[in-house]
């Protein structure tokens, strides 16, 4: 839009391709797997000024695990990871269909981002506290939280522990160390830092982890979290899931054209690691590094998980309106499930046959869970009496809510 010679001009970012144009990832630089050095977990952040511009990768094209970041996980663990990722994806597919059938009002899938939540859950301890966004359902799946319970929340049915108060997928699972998801983007990021500070204050050994998307990094809360984490050296793993899109907004609208999101760490003197988010082993290794660093009292790390949002933003969204239909297929970093499966097969620890069998088993598991959940009703089957909607505003119900409940006739 610059009028040459006529002075300044305003720059408005644009994605490389829009509907009707061929997907274009030519600007994307993808370093060789295994080429990234793994620093000791207690290295001073000042010695990590290049990591934000690199990309930690373990799985090479052929599916072999290479380089210093290879976490050398047991095949058994990897098979479990494969299973949890597949379970997450199958769950998403089922719930999407349920939404289409009107059994719930809304749904958000994490397709293509399963490695982020599952591998990160593995890299953290079971008692570490998670402050997720709405796209980390894989964390709950990986912590083996009952799928049925998640479905009951999505259906707002009589089994919904949240009493029908929350939008579907806005889980809260204290028993799984999974913090109540907020509809307001980013607010959990600095709260996680506060939780971690409290853990440190109590000389506890538990750390916190939090997630935001690329778009959400623009919120003030992102800055507040990094500032407090740096100043008090809080034991927290701060994750930016860069899936390239924020609803219809290309990541450049959060600054992604200017530098990496991992680079934000440099401004606070924190380590910033950029990771191939579709590489289960790389995600596990980088998260493990950050968790060990935090647990050994060396403070916070910012992780950028570089991935792609294969699904629409939510069931209210239609990506065909703003990005090439086949962009997902052209994503150069592939699919996390495919890649882990390949790795296991190459390692002689898995086969197409077992894969097919596992798919069938998971499909049955999900169907069974859904039957069980739907036995408790779907949207429109009130989880409880409307009386309950006046509870939990305060610990004890004040007079005005008693009065209003009466007025409501419940």
């Amino acid at each position: 839009m610059s009028k040459p010679g006529s002075g300044l001009s305003l720059h408005i970012p644009e994605p490389p391709a829009r509907p009707g144009q061929p997907p274009d990832f030519s600007k994307l630089v993808i370093p060789k797997a295994g080429a990234q050095p793994r620093p000791p977990v207690d290295v001073p952040a000042a010695q990590l000024r290049d990591t934000p511009y690199d990309l930690i990768r373990v799985l090479d094209e052929s599916g072999r695990a290479v380089g210093e970041w290879n976490p050398r996980l047991d095949a058994a663990v990897l098979r479990k990871g494969l299973r949890h990722m597949m379970l997450t994806r199958a769950f998403d597919e089922r719930m999407l269909r349920a939404q289409r059938q009107g059994k719930t009002s809304f749904y958000i899938k994490s397709t293509g981002e399963e490695a982020v939540s599952v591998a990160q859950a593995y890299a953290l301890d079971a008692r570490d506290m998670l402050f997720p966004s709405y796209r980390q359902q894989g964390l709950l799946v990986a912590r083996d939280w009952p799928i049925v319970d998640m479905m009951c929340q999505i259906y707002n049915n009589t089994g919904d522990r949240l009493k029908g108060r929350q939008l579907p997928i806005m889980y809260s699972v204290k028993d799984a160390g999974f913090f109540s998801i907020s509809g307001n983007l980013g607010t959990q990021f600095p709260q996680a830092v506060g939780w971690a500070m409290a853990s440190a204050y109590k000389h506890d050994t538990r750390i916190a982890a939090a997630w935001v998307g690329d778009g959400t990094t623009a919120e003030g809360d992102f800055h507040h979290a990094l500032t407090f984490a740096a100043v008090y050296r809080a034991p927290v793993v701060l994750n930016v899931v860069n899936n390239q899109w924020a609803i219809s907004s290309y990541q450049a609208f959060a600054g992604g054209d200017e530098t990496t999101f991992a680079a934000r760490a440099l401004g606070y003197g924190l380590p910033g690691l950029r990771v191939d988010g579709n590489d289960f082993l790389a995600v596990y290794a980088a998260t493990r590094w950050a968790a060990e660093r935090a647990r050994s009292n060396h403070g916070a790390t910012l992780l950028e998980l570089f991935t792609y949002r294969v699904a629409p933003h939510s069931t209210s969204d239609d990506p065909a309106k703003y990005r090439p239909e086949n962009e997902a297929e052209k994503w150069p970093l592939g699919d996390p499930i495919e890649r882990l499966k390949q790795h296991l097969i190459v390692a002689g620890e898995w086969s197409e046959e077992r894969q097919v069998a596992l798919e069938a088993e998971i499909d049955e598991q999900i169907r069974a869970a859904q039957r069980e959940a739907e036995a408790k009703g779907t949207l429109g089957t009130p989880p409880a009496s409307p009386r309950t909607m006046f509870e939990d505003v305060f610990k004890d119900m004040p007079w005005h809510l008693h009065k209003q409940r009466q007025e409501a006739g419940y």
Partner: protein
């Protein structure tokens, strides 16, 4: 004249102003290429260009601060906050800055910004896509707050808001974007095209701020309301079979006190209806205003029908939403009392 629903009327208002005034710019989360999650800006970037209608970072405070800076330069920014629930991160820039700038600089600088944002429930949006925060804005000196109830008003008021040199919060009741809603969620939806207020001029026109509309004349009682609740109130009045005057406030601050006073002095009875939660809601100010001005004319206590003092619970949408039955019951009480 064209037939427009509320989204089309709002889109048309911005289109008209973008064409009329090169200093008008429109921006917000997803408003550019995509045209907004509610399509309010659909087609505007394609028509007016990349630098006039564009996406922003997901940073409500930054959106408002940017609008203020642009306004100080001399532009007329129209910012969209994707949901009214998400305007709170920008609260300081709106209250401490946009609303105070003219005063603290003794008129040297001001913020001629318009902040559009969809509000209210009835769409199963859950706690954070259903709120009605207008009441807190009506407490802010230096800020004007508007909420239309139909396509014709929406366009005329939005154009007036954009031309206003003071900051304006323009709240759009999302439940009635596509058609009026009388609160009977179990009945078939009606579309705007069946209603006269969908007859909207294609071109420029204004509806002045701070002027309420008497949408139904009556003598038995006065209902003070706005937004979606105008339609709920009209339904309740029809069902009650009472000759009630229904006033659509349209601008919530500064209020049209004269119209309110004249009506209540005529009817002697008053019901205040809004979807926002009750305590310290705008209804409280309306009740205070009415009793200050009409005390000796009041024949019954003023009743308020509002959202409950709880968050908006997803599964209990219709238990929270103040429907026609509750309005009717309140009318019955004021008629007795």
């Amino acid at each position: 004249m064209a037939t427009m629903n509320m989204i089309q009327a709002i889109n048309s208002a911005m289109d008209v102003m973008l064409s009329k005034d090169p200093d008008v710019v429109v921006f917000g989360e997803d408003v550019g290429y995509f045209g907004g999650v509610f399509r309010a800006t659909a087609g505007l970037q394609q028509k007016h260009g990349l630098t006039r209608v564009f996406d922003t970072p997901i940073c409500e405070a930054g959106i408002i601060a940017t609008a203020i800076g642009m306004g100080v330069y001399g532009l007329r920014p129209v910012a969209e906050i994707q949901f009214a629930d998400y305007i709170l991160p920008a609260f300081d820039q709106l209250v401490s800055e946009a609303s105070r700038l003219r005063y603290r600089s003794a008129g040297e600088f001001w913020a001629p910004i318009t902040v559009r944002t969809p509000c209210g429930g009835g769409i199963f949006g859950g706690q954070t896509h259903s709120q009605s925060p207008e009441s807190i804005f009506t407490h802010v000196s230096g800020l004007k707050t508007v909420m239309p109830s139909n396509p014709y008003d929406a366009k005329g008021l939005l154009i007036a808001a954009i031309e206003e040199d003071d900051p304006v919060i323009f709240l759009e009741p999302k439940r009635i974007y596509n058609g009026p809603f009388d609160g009977h969620h179990d009945r078939p939806l009606s579309s705007w095209s069946k209603f006269p207020q969908s007859e909207v001029p294609e071109g420029y026109y204004r509806i002045p701020l701070s002027q309420a509309a008497i949408v139904r004349e009556g003598s038995a009682a006065t209902i003070l309301t706005y937004g979606t609740m105008v339609h709920v109130s009209l339904a309740a009045v029809a069902e009650a079979g009472l000759d009630v005057e229904v006033i659509d406030l349209r601008t919530l601050f500064p209020l049209d006190a004269e119209t309110i006073e004249a009506s209540v002095k005529k009817t002697g009875r008053c019901v205040v209806v809004h979807e926002a939660s009750r305590t310290s809601g705008l209804g409280a100010e309306l009740m205070a205003l009415v009793q200050e001005r009409c005390f000796h004319h009041l024949e019954a206590p003023i009743e308020r029908v509002t959202g409950w003092d709880t968050p908006y619970p997803h599964a209990f949408e219709w238990n929270y939403f103040p429907g026609p039955d509750r309005v009717r019951a309140a009318l019955a009480r004021v008629m007795e009392g």
